[in-house]
Subunit: 407 residues, 2 copies
């Protein structure tokens, strides 16, 4: 179960533009480097022939609790954050195991499941069963929000508070996020702010949420002028990834999640990137073992980064490759028109292209990035409506400079 | 500068109702005790003849920075919270000392002052001057909110986010709360949530905010069904109390603040309570030395409690004496009809009366509580519209049980 991610990150350099370089296994020029992103949040690819520093972070993937012998938990990735550490359980059919949630992670007797109109008909009953089976002590309420990024705002968030207040929840309750990244971000922020902080659990049901947004404690909502401008760093009690939930995910949503999987390979895990180049057809065909491996490796990579830089004062910003352009696309086209991963894919190509034009990376890297995203059927260019002027305006207005955070 | 507060708090007892008892200097029956508030948030007075445990907490009142020789800073109370520690500066004319804020506490080049329509005409120019005098690096924006508890809601909070986003603030900015408790709570929560957390400074201009709400990091807004149900624990960079700002405070607001001053004497500082009994006329006449002393002792008491229990898992709940009934009065009469301290005063009398009826305290204590609140011209009974039924309904619906927090 030990993680096998090879970190490709070098010590911060003094470039004025944060630069990220994959040491691609073949055809890549020399070793990789990452310049400090603390001054700018423009994340580009850069290969520096003069740097061969190579750090290795071994993922802490030891189980934090011993699953029962018959458990379907195939992997437990531990996010190491001191007294805010938590496990990520990954496996097929985990929602059929009531013990997993009940035993350690539900606080108090009352649970509020936050989900949306798409996911509720599919999994709300199952999750309610998992929380209450053979457990008369727990009662479950739910709030079903409209589905989509365009609803990730203060009005929708208030519906969660309204439900919790009207149901007379107290501080010993647990909020459960059941859905994709939007639900996870909103439920997490609601849990952070309700009575100044209650317990919460993530049950991500999209690949995007499973490999990225449910891990690391970034929560929040959008402002009409920019994504995720209002929120909190707030860690869950655990993340439970039942890979069976991907069986009901639309193809477009699956591809969106793959954009973030590709990102981990690019920024810090060359063998994983190479594996993706070979196994993309299996991922698109939803081959269970391939999906489980991609999720595990992605979570291990993210857990390593978050453990070192929870609040994004430096290293964590490397997770934002492609997001500077990507967020501008999402804002410029109206939240929800493009899925997050679609915007990130186009943004990654833009960042790669810019790095190439600046002479930082060889054209072969740029080509491999384009090829893998094409394989995943992801967009490799922004929509035509996104003019240079529009990019510049949006990136200037919603760019949270400073400690380098992006999303 | 050493604090002279004598703590009267005893070890938690096993009572089923959190009970707080002042060891009043004369006429009080035996020593004081505080039962654990972790099970209930009903804070009553209790004198337990069987308990004579007496703990003493020495306030950490050492200056954290050396004020200039000519500085008007008369006191610096340090709130000791590890890497979130901060100083409370107390003195007459501190807003005339630009260095105090500029030297250590403003982060970045951009400052957003959050204030209201009452305070802005009085102090906004002065604060802007203090932030920018001889300091071309800093630019100041402001957002002026409507004045009053009834505006402490999500709609008003959004105005702060709107201003910060539209002004393109980044993470290296500083939010300044200039006003009373409502402004401090809203600005603090906005600072906690904007870009997941930016620097902030409290400049309280009411006695209530100076002795209570600006210290300790509780921030938040009200929900229509209960006070402070949405918020964060978020500590400021510093608190700057210019006692001259009390010169413009209406009498009713001054009295409201005194309700919290009385609370510190009752729950943990018998000599301070005795001092108040003798010096109430001076406080009401705004005698500068008396006010400065009352603010200093109140801040020292609060700083000691917060340093030991930042997130209110036990001890901090003792600060809520009278607030269970008080918040119900505020909710039941509509936010803003009664000032917070007025509701707390009536709530304190109710708690005292209940303790007396339960046989926990002698009638002489009850009488002294009523007398001192009468001296301060504060209400000693709830409004007639607050029936028993209404109290019960409100207290059941907005009572955040669990770890005992109240406001």
């Amino acid at each position: 179960m030990a993680a096998s991610a090879s970190s490709l990150l070098a010590a911060p350099a003094s470039s004025s533009c944060g630069a990220i370089s994959p040491q691609l296994p073949r055809g890549a020029p020399a070793a990789a480097s990452v310049a400090s992103p603390s001054r700018h949040s423009c994340y580009l690819l850069r290969a520096s022939p003069s740097r061969r520093h190579r750090s290795r972070f071994v993922a802490n993937a030891a189980p934090t609790m011993q699953p029962p012998a018959e458990s379907r938990v195939s992997t437990v990735v531990d996010v190491d954050l001191g007294d805010r550490s938590y496990p990520i359980y990954i496996g097929a059919g985990l929602l059929d195991e009531p013990d997993l949630l009940q035993r350690q992670h539900v606080h108090g007797k009352r649970v509020l499941v936050v989900t949306n109109t798409t996911v509720a008909p599919l999994y709300l009953d199952k999750v309610t069963w998992a929380l209450t089976h053979n457990n008369l002590n727990v009662s479950v309420e739910s709030v079903i929000l409209p589905d989509g990024e365009k609803y990730k705002n203060m009005d929708t968030l208030m519906k969660v508070f309204d439900k919790a207040v009207e149901s007379r929840f107290d501080r010993r309750c647990t909020f459960v996020a059941l859905g994709g990244g939007v639900i996870g971000d909103m439920c997490g922020f609601a849990a952070a702010a309700f009575l100044r902080g209650v317990n919460f659990i993530q049950i991500p049901t999209t690949l995007m949420a499973q490999v990225d947004s449910s891990v690391g404690g970034k929560t929040g909502i959008n402002h009409p002028l920019g994504k995720n401008l209002i929120g909190a760093f707030y860690q869950p009690q655990c993340v439970l990834i039942d890979t069976n939930t991907l069986n009901t995910l639309p193809d477009r949503e699956l591809a969106s999640g793959i954009a973030e999987v590709v990102k981990y390979g690019l920024i810090r895990d060359a063998p994983f990137f190479e594996w993706q180049e070979k196994n993309m057809p299996k991922l698109l065909a939803r081959e269970p073992n391939a999906l489980a491996y991609a999720i595990k490796r992605s979570c291990e990579n993210k857990a390593e980064v978050v453990a070192q830089d929870e609040k994004e004062s430096g290293l964590r910003a490397t997770l934002n490759l492609g997001h500077t352009f990507g967020h501008a696309i999402e804002t410029g086209t109206g939240y929800g028109a493009w899925l997050h991963g679609e915007a990130v894919a186009a943004g990654t190509v833009m960042a790669t292209d810019m790095s190439h034009r600046l002479g930082w990376i060889d054209d072969s890297i740029r080509k491999r990035v384009v090829d893998i995203l094409k394989q995943a059927k992801l967009p490799i260019a922004p929509p035509e409506t996104m003019t240079v002027e529009k990019f510049k305006n949006i990136m200037a207005s919603c760019k949270p400079k400073g400690r380098g955070r992006r999303n």
